[in-house]
């Protein structure tokens, strides 16, 4: 979006004749950027600085009350890296993220392709449904899902039993972490699909018809057309969507937290929950901060891919 605005301004500025004006023009972007930079500094950079600082400190309840931590170097990091549970949590979070992101991208794209094929009314109905899903606040969505998978009165158990898929009366989906995470995967993919579908659909609408037709005339099959024509054209969109999904799914918190009454058992710890647990439940804020910093580094990698694509897209435009 920034690049679009840019291209609208540049030709106009070339026409300016007076140097004073030109100086003003040159300063204007910086002046205009200042509030944004100040806000980012205030709400992002400063807290991040505090987080990193805290991760090198002993910061428990005692220190919290006195608003002053004690510097202990890398002891917090050493402690989490030697903690077997931490690596379990990292692995669990990574696997969960990969599964969720893959499912979201594949299903989201599939539905976007479907939208191209169906009649106008079906498309409108489908899009409306997707937007509605998107519009539901996370907490509301989680509570609805919670009722659906309730062990005693949930509609999920009732339906599965009625369909003769087995006896699901009083089946507790969260008794086993595998089925529990199955429910969370469904919930998260369900919530993430609308954004992916609508964005990919918008991208698909931009693919020149001539290209697709030409490929078809040359005898390419639909799958080949998608792979050889559509996919390369939409690559920037896919890269951005995937990296955003990674960032979102990697830090999943509310869904698990709310669904499990704010007391998830350790089988359900993701990195975000583990950091919260160390900080707010055990009152080891330094340790929690160290986990959060590691998390930030993980996400920074995903962001790098995203940023590179953003910059490239900017160059093309």
């Amino acid at each position: 979006m920034a690049s679009v605005a840019e291209s609208g301004v540049t030709p106009a500025s070339r026409r300016r004749r007076f140097s004073r004006r030109r100086v003003g023009q040159a300063a204007a972007p910086y002046v205009l950027l200042t509030p944004a930079a100040a806000v980012i500094g205030l709400v992002l950079a400063y807290p991040l600085y505090l987080l990193v600082k805290m991760s090198f400190e002993k910061y428990g309840l005692f220190e919290l009350i006195r608003h002053k931590g004690r510097w202990i170097g890398t002891a917090n990091y050493a402690s989490i890296f030697h903690d077997g549970e931490f690596w379990h949590v990292v692995l669990r979070t990574l696997v969960f993220t990969i599964v969720c992101v893959s499912l979201t991208m594949v299903l989201g794209t599939a539905i976007a392709l479907l939208l191209l094929q169906v009649s106008r009314w079906v498309r409108i109905a489908l899009t409306t449904g997707l937007v509605l899903v998107w519009a539901v606040p996370v907490i509301v969505a989680v509570n609805i899902w919670r009722w659906m998978v309730d062990y005693q009165f949930g509609v999920a158990n009732w339906t599965l039993t009625k369909l003769h898929l087995g006896d699901f009366a009083r089946h507790d989906w969260f008794a086993n972490p595998w089925t529990g995470f199955g429910v969370f995967t469904l919930l998260i993919v369900w919530g993430a699909i609308p954004f992916v579908t609508i964005t990919v659909y918008a991208g698909l609408a931009q693919v020149p018809h001539e290209l697709l037709e030409a490929a078809a005339i040359d005898g390419a099959r639909p799958w080949a057309i998608f792979r050889e024509v559509t996919l390369p054209l939409l690559k920037p969109i896919f890269v951005i969507l995937t990296s955003l999904s990674i960032i979102w799914d990697f830090q999943v918190f509310q869904q698990i937290w709310v669904m499990l009454d704010a007391r998830p058992s350790s089988d359900y710890y993701t990195m975000a929950i583990y950091a919260f647990h160390q900080s707010f439940q055990i009152s080891e804020y330094g340790l929690g901060a160290a986990i959060a910093v590691v998390m930030v580094l993980f996400m920074f990698m995903a962001t790098l891919i995203y940023l590179r694509q953003m910059l490239r897209t900017g160059e093309v435009n």
């Binding site: 301004v9 205009l32 944004a36 309840l61 919290l64 009350i65 008794a175 007391r263 058992s265 439940q281």
Partner: protein, 426 residues
């Protein structure tokens, strides 16, 4: 161009809003209000006591409002930590008696003068102990609770149970009778026992002569994998078979008294206040009045009671308050004899022995007062709250309830975790 100006304008507006709200939060020069954090038990169970205290406080300080903010047990400490860090903690906070030590050790509360508070000479010894650290007083006992078996007299009679069981063995036999009579309904529980209900489960451990952890030579050691504790936990697993409650749920989500009110529960182990709560006209079932009674949970030793968890709450004044005098005055009003009588009437044990006869003479309170004579308490380590917050006992019980691990494996892993947490920083 326009888009940019719009964006810049928006940002300036956002900054302005942020700045104005920031300055709005800090004006606290002369107190016109004190903030009190109570648990929502008071809201559900004894709102009269709160109203009475507020009226009496208001009579004494007409210019000061009392803002009572209700909290839930699961999240109040998280919020309290955040409030302490932000310098915005309440003036009075209700703390669970098991939560006190950690916060007293960290210096979170103002120290108090015992004689300034009503009935302080006759405070319940168990509660008073939870308010003291290194010989100083940091809290005021609020109320205590003991759990007993609350049951449906009509269902017991229909199942052929003639009197309240006198031993754990009889309790089990009666439970099976109930299941035989009503258990065809897949949602019926003879004994409603959600998987994470550790206050009840640990009573078995103490009844069988074990503890959660012991202190030896300055070091804590988890003792849930000792032979006695294992025998107790195996018994817990057998009692759980009489329940269709969620194996991964706890006693507060949903409130067990309200599940009981729905009619498909023969008995549950609850606090005194849960009896009237089950009959509540709005959320409970008043039709059960006259069909309920309670008895102390019987021990595995015939004729004895199983120790019950000495639950309770204290009131404390955070160090961050600027209104210590007002806060203390509100606590005095809330723990006055009149107010404590209201609290006792709601099914609790008042903070003073002066009011104990009050409980013994009321048939709806007497079983809990009798149960309270044999009680257990959590290990008194500043780190104990961390064991609770790490859900160590709950996780162990869920593993036992769902059969995901053997009793021995679950107990050993929990015990090792407890040893580690209790010795942290010691």
């Amino acid at each position: 161009m326009k888009v940019r100006y719009l964006a810049a304008g928006l940002l300036v507006a956002m900054l302005a809003v942020a700045a104005s709200t920031a300055s709005g939060g800090t004006s606290r020069s002369h107190a016109t209000k004190i903030v009190v954090w109570l648990q929502n038990d008071a809201q559900n169970g004894w709102p009269e006591a709160v109203a009475l205290a507020n009226r009496n406080f208001k009579a004494q300080h007409p210019d000061v409002d009392v803002d009572v903010q209700y909290q839930s047990w699961g999240t109040h400490l998280t919020k309290f930590d955040a409030a302490l860090a932000g310098g915005d903690a309440p003036d009075v906070i209700e703390m669970g008696n098991t939560e006190m030590t950690k916060y007293m050790a960290a210096g979170a509360f103002k120290s108090l003068t015992q004689s300034a508070f009503p009935n302080s000479a006759t405070w319940l010894q168990g509660l008073k102990g939870s308010c003291q650290f290194n010989g100083k007083l940091y809290g005021v006992p609020y109320y205590a609770g003991a759990r007993a078996v609350i049951y449906r007299t009509d269902q017991y009679k229909a199942a052929g149970i003639k009197s309240a069981p006198k031993s754990l063995a009889q309790f089990m036999v009666d439970g099976q009778k109930l299941m035989k009579k009503y258990g065809k309904d897949g949602n019926y529980s003879a004994v409603y026992f959600p998987g994470k209900y550790w206050y009840y489960a640990m009573s078995f451990v103490y009844d069988y002569g074990s503890q959660i952890a012991i202190r030896k030579g300055g070091k804590w050691k988890g003792t849930l994998n000792t032979p006695r504790a294992l025998a107790a936990l195996n018994q817990v697993k057998r009692v759980m078979k009489l329940s269709r409650a969620s194996k991964t749920g706890d006693e507060a989500n949903p409130q067990q008294a309200l599940v009981f009110a729905k009619g498909k529960v023969g008995s549950f182990v609850g606090n005194g206040w849960e009896w009237p709560y089950a009959l509540d006209t709005k959320v409970g079932n008043p039709a059960l009045d006259g069909k309920m009674n309670a008895y102390p949970m019987p021990s595995h030793l015939r004729g004895k009671f199983m120790p019950t968890f000495l639950g309770g709450s204290d009131l404390a004044i955070p160090v961050t308050t600027k209104n210590q005098g007002l806060a203390a005055d509100w606590i005095k009003a809330f723990t006055s004899t009149a107010s404590e009588s209201e609290i006792a009437k709601a099914g609790n044990i008042a903070n003073t022995t002066k009011l104990l006869s009050f409980n013994a003479s009321n048939p709806k309170l007497a079983p809990f007062a009798r149960a309270a004579k044999y009680s257990w308490f959590v290990p008194t380590s500043p780190n104990w709250t961390n064991v609770e917050n790490a859900n160590v006992l709950q996780n162990m019980l869920v593993k036992i309830a769902t059969g995901r691990a053997s009793v021995r494996a679950a107990a050993t892993s929990a015990s090792n975790q407890i040893t580690r947490i209790l010795n942290t920083g010691a």
